[in-house]
Symmetry: C2
Subunit: 500 residues, 2 copies
C-alpha cells in the first residue's frame, strides 16, 4: 500500500470522526438540548465545522492525491482504492474550487435567508423574503460557475446531492413521470370514490404509537443495539458513528400516519446507514451513494412495503390490539384510508402520488431560476400557475405556497429532485427484489421482512460509492432509470381502490 | 487590557468549549448511546481529549503568563483578572510539570486498572487486582513528586480536587469528626430504636418517581430550561455549556430513596453549576471552586434540606397523593425511616452519618499508601480492621470490602476526602444561611426554597475560584472549617428520633 494512500485514508477517517461529533451535537440540539442551551451549541457546532474545514482544505491532500492518481490504485474504477481516491478528489476539489469569500458569503446569505424566511412566512409577506432569495440564487449561480459544468449550471449544483448525475437524465425521468401522473390523478379524482379518512384522526395514544412504531422498525431490520428512536420537531436520521444511527419522529395524538409512516421512512434511512460497510467508515466505499439512493431506501420501506396490503395483512391484528380506535375498522377501510390520493397544498403532507408533482414543480422552478429564465420576483405567480396546472389547486397564501419549504432559503438548490428520484429508484429496485426473492407479498404476509433488508444490503448499501447512481440502477435492475415502475406500482395499487 | 491577557482568556475559553463537547460525548455515552456504539465513542472522546491536551500544553500559554504575572492584573488576588491568571498558571503547570511518559503510563495503568478491577471484583479475587493497584500507586507517587509539595506527598494529589487545600487541615477536621461520630453511632445503636424501613421498599411507580423528583428539583431551583434530567447507571451531573447542565438518576421501583434523594443531590450539583457566572465561563471566576465545595451544594440540598422535617411538612401531602404506598404511612414514620442510621458495608448506600466513616477509612488508607506506611498487599486486612473499629462490622468478601469503589483503580487518590469535606462545608454553610435568612425551617414549611438558592448563589457559586476553599469558608461563616456544625446537625436531628 502506498504511503500517500494510507495518509489519505487516515485523514479521511479523521474528518469523518469530526463529522460524527458534529452529528451528535446536531442530533442533541434537535432532540435533547435545553431551550437556553442553543446559543452555546451554535458556537460548539461552528467550532467543529471550522476544524472540519481546516482538515478538508489541508494542502497535503492535494499532494497525496497527486501521488496516487493514475497508479494501480485507480486502475479499476469500482475498486475500493479507486473509490476512496475518487471520493477524496471530489471532496478536495469542491472545497478548494470555491473562493473563501464565496463560501463566507454563502454562509451569511443562507443564515440570513433562513431567518428572513421564518419571519416572512409567519407574516405571509413574500416581498420581505425576496431580496434574501435573490441573494442566495445569485451566489448559487456563482457557486455553480466556480465549480464548473459541461452542459448546464444546474448540473454543478445537482452533483452536491446526486454525485455524477446529470440534469438532462433527471429531467427526462421526471417529465415522463409528470406526463403519466397528471392523467392518473385526474382519473382518481373523477372516480368519485374516497375512503373514510376520519379513522386515521381518531385518538392514538402516544405511548402505543411509540411501541408499535418501534416494533415495526425492529421487524423491518432497524437495529436498536446500533441505533435509537427519539422525538423531534422535524424528523430526520443521522449517524454519530458506524454503530450509532439515530432516527427521530414526532407524535400526533390525533393522526396515526404522522409517526407510523414517519418511523418506517426514517428506519429505511437508518437501515441504509446501518448497512454500509463498517470497515470503510469515513471512506467512499462506506459512504451512502446519493440523497436519491438514500431516499429510495426510506421510500421503499415507507411506501412499497409499509402501505402494501400484505404488510397490513400481517400487522393489522397487532395494530387493532394496540389501538382501540381501530377495533371497529375493517382492514379494507384502513388500507384504503392510508393510500388515499388527493391534491393538497403542502408537500410534506402529500400522498404517495401527488408528492411527486410537488417536487416536479420545485425542480422546474429552480432550474428556471438558476438559468435566469425567471427571477425570484416571478416565483409566486409561477408557483401558483404550476400548482393549478399539475394539481388543480392554488394556494390561498404564499406562506402555504412558495414559502412553505426552508430549502431555497438555506441554499439547497438541486436537492428537491432527489426526493422524487428516491421514489423512482425505490419502485425500480423493489420490482427487482420481488423478482430476485420470488415474491415479497408472501414473505410480508408471514411477517418476514429481513430478506428484503438483506437483498438491499448486498445490492445497494454495501456498494457504497464504488458506482454512480446510474451505474447502480443498471447493475441492480439491468436497465437505466425509468419512471415506468413507479407508475406501475401506483396504478396496480390505486386502480382497484378507485375502480379505475 | 493587555494583549497577552486577552489571548490567555480566549485560549482558556477555547479549551472550555472543547471540554464542553467532551462532556456531551460523555453524557451521551452514559445516558443515550446504543450498546454497540461505545467503541467508536471511545475514539471520539480520545480525539477530543488529545485536542484539549494540545491546547493545554501550547507553549504560547507560558509566554502569555510571563507577560501578565506581576502586573496590575494580579495585584488584587481576589480580582477576576488575578483569578483568571492564577487558574491558567495552575493548569499550565499541572500539564507541563508531568513528563509525557508519566502521563502515558498513568493513562495505561488506570485503563488497565479499571478493567482489572471490574474482573477481580466480579471474581472476588483481590490478588488479581493487586499488581494493577501497586502500579497505579507507584505512578501516583511519581506524579506527586513531579508536581512537588511542601509538607507531604498527599498534598500534591489532594490539590487536584481541592485546590490550595492542605492534607493537615483536612486530616484535623476529619479526625475530629471521627472522634465525635463513633460514640454518637454507638449511642444510636445502643438505643434499640429503629424505624420501619420497609415502607421505603414498597412499590413506587417509576413515572411517579420521575415526576415527583422533577417537581422537587424544580422547586429547589434547578432550571429545566437550562438543564435536563435523564436516566443512567451511575448518576452524575455534568455541564455541556453555560446554559446546559445535565443531571441524571436511576429509578428502583421498590426503593423510594434511590431516585428521590439522588435527584435532590444531583440537582444540588446542578444548581451550583447553573449559579456560576456565565460571563466567566471557561475562566477561573466562572469555575466551580473545588470538589468539596461542589459536594457541599449537593449534600446541603439532599441532607440539610431534603431530609429535614420542614421539607416534608411541605411535601409529604404531595408525596402521599402521588404514591399509593405512602397513603397509610404517618409523616413521623416516614421521616424516621429516611433518617435511619445503621452501619453498612457499602459506601454509596450508607446513611448521612455513617457515610463519613466510610470516607475516613479510605482517606486514612490512601495517605498510608502514598506515604508507603502500608503496601497495597496490606489493604484487605487494614480495610477490614478499620471497618471493625469505626463501624463495628466486617465485610464478608473483598468484593464488598476493599474492592467496592472504582476510584483507586482509576487513579483517583485524594478524591475521597472531598465527599466528607462536602458534608462539613454543607453543615457550616447551612447554619450561616439559616442565620442570615432568619430561619429556614419556616420558609421550607411554606415551600419556599429559592431564598436559600439565592443565598448560595451570591455567597458561594458566584465566587468562582476568586478565593480558596479555606478563604470561602472564612468569608461566608466568619470562621475556619470545623466539624462541629455537622455534629450539631446530626445530633439535633437524630437525638429526638433515637431518644438519645
Amino acid at each position: 500500500m502506498s504511503d500517500a494512500f494510507e495518509k489519505l485514508c487516515d485523514h479521511s477517517r479523521e474528518i469523518a470522526l469530526l463529522n460524527s461529533i458534529e452529528s451528535l451535537l446536531d442530533w442533541d440540539a434537535r432532540c435533547k438540548l435545553p431551550e437556553q442551551g442553543s446559543a452555546y451549541r451554535t458556537e460548539q457546532q461552528a467550532y467543529v465545522a471550522r476544524l472540519v474545514h481546516q482538515k478538508q482544505t489541508d494542502p497535503r491532500i492535494g499532494d497525496w492525491l497527486a501521488d496516487v492518481q493514475g497508479t494501480d490504485l485507480t486502475a479499476d474504477p469500482q475498486s475500493d482504492s479507486a473509490t476512496i481516491i475518487r471520493e477524496a478528489q471530489r471532496n478536495y476539489d469542491k472545497q478548494t474550487k470555491l473562493p473563501a469569500e464565496l463560501v463566507e458569503a454563502l454562509t451569511r446569505a443562507t443564515n440570513d435567508g433562513q431567518h428572513a424566511w421564518v419571519e416572512a412566512r409567519r407574516e405571509n409577506d413574500f416581498s420581505k423574503f425576496l431580496p434574501y432569495l435573490e441573494n442566495v440564487y445569485r451566489l448559487k449561480r456563482e457557486q455553480a460557475d466556480a465549480i464548473g459544468y459541461e452542459s448546464c449550471r444546474y448540473d454543478a449544483l445537482l452533483d452536491d446531492y446526486e454525485p455524477g448525475e446529470k440534469t438532462s437524465t433527471v429531467r427526462a425521468a421526471l417529465e415522463a413521470l409528470r406526463t403519466d401522473l397528471v392523467p392518473l390523478l385526474e382519473l382518481i379524482q373523477a372516480s368519485g370514490k374516497s375512503p373514510d379518512r376520519s379513522i386515521l384522526t381518531r385518538e392514538y395514544p402516544v405511548s402505543a404509537q411509540e411501541s408499535f412504531g418501534s416494533q415495526a422498525a425492529k421487524a423491518i431490520g432497524f437495529e436498536f443495539d446500533r441505533g435509537r428512536l427519539d422525538v423531534t420537531h422535524h424528523p430526520f436520521c443521522t449517524e454519530a458513528g458506524p454503530d450509532d444511527c439515530r432516527i427521530t419522529t414526532r407524535y400526533d395524538l390525533n393522526f396515526f400516519n404522522m409517526a407510523f409512516f414517519g418511523i418506517l421512512h426514517e428506519a429505511g434511512h437508518g437501515i441504509y446507514d446501518q448497512g454500509l460497510r463498517k470497515s470503510q467508515y469515513g471512506l467512499g466505499p462506506g459512504h451512502y451513494l446519493s440523497l436519491g439512493i438514500h431516499e429510495s431506501q426510506s421510500r421503499m420501506w415507507e411506501n412499497q412495503v409499509g402501505r402494501s396490503r400484505p404488510f397490513w395483512d400481517h400487522w393489522y391484528g397487532a395494530a387493532q390490539q394496540q389501538f382501540n380506535s381501530l377495533q371497529d375498522v375493517a382492514l379494507d377501510d384502513f388500507y384504503f384510508a392510508i393510500n388515499h390520493v388527493e391534491p393538497s397544498l403542502i408537500r410534506v403532507e402529500a400522498d404517495e402520488l401527488t408528492y411527486n408533482l410537488h417536487i416536479i414543480i420545485r425542480f422546474e422552478l429552480e432550474q428556471a431560476l438558476i438559468d435566469e429564465q425567471i427571477t425570484p420576483a416571478d416565483l409566486p405567480e409561477a408557483w401558483n400557475s404550476k400548482y393549478q396546472q399539475y394539481l388543480g389547486i392554488q394556494p390561498p397564501t404564499d406562506a402555504d405556497g412558495v414559502m412553505q419549504d426552508v430549502h431555497w432559503s438555506a441554499g439547497l438548490v438541486g436537492y428537491f429532485p432527489t426526493y422524487s428520484l428516491g421514489n423512482l429508484y425505490a419502485a425500480q429496485f423493489y420490482q427487482q427484489a420481488d423478482k430476485d426473492l420470488g415474491g415479497l407479498d408472501e414473505l410480508f404476509r408471514r411477517g418476514e421482512f429481513l430478506e428484503l433488508k438483506r437483498w438491499a444490503g448486498e445490492n445497494i448499501h454495501q456498494r457504497g460509492r464504488n458506482v454512480t447512481p446510474a451505474e447502480l440502477v443498471q447493475e441492480v435492475t439491468g436497465e437505466p432509470l425509468t419512471h415506468t415502475y413507479l407508475i406501475d406500482h401506483l396504478q396496480s395499487k390505486l386502480s382497484p381502490l378507485y375502480g379505475i
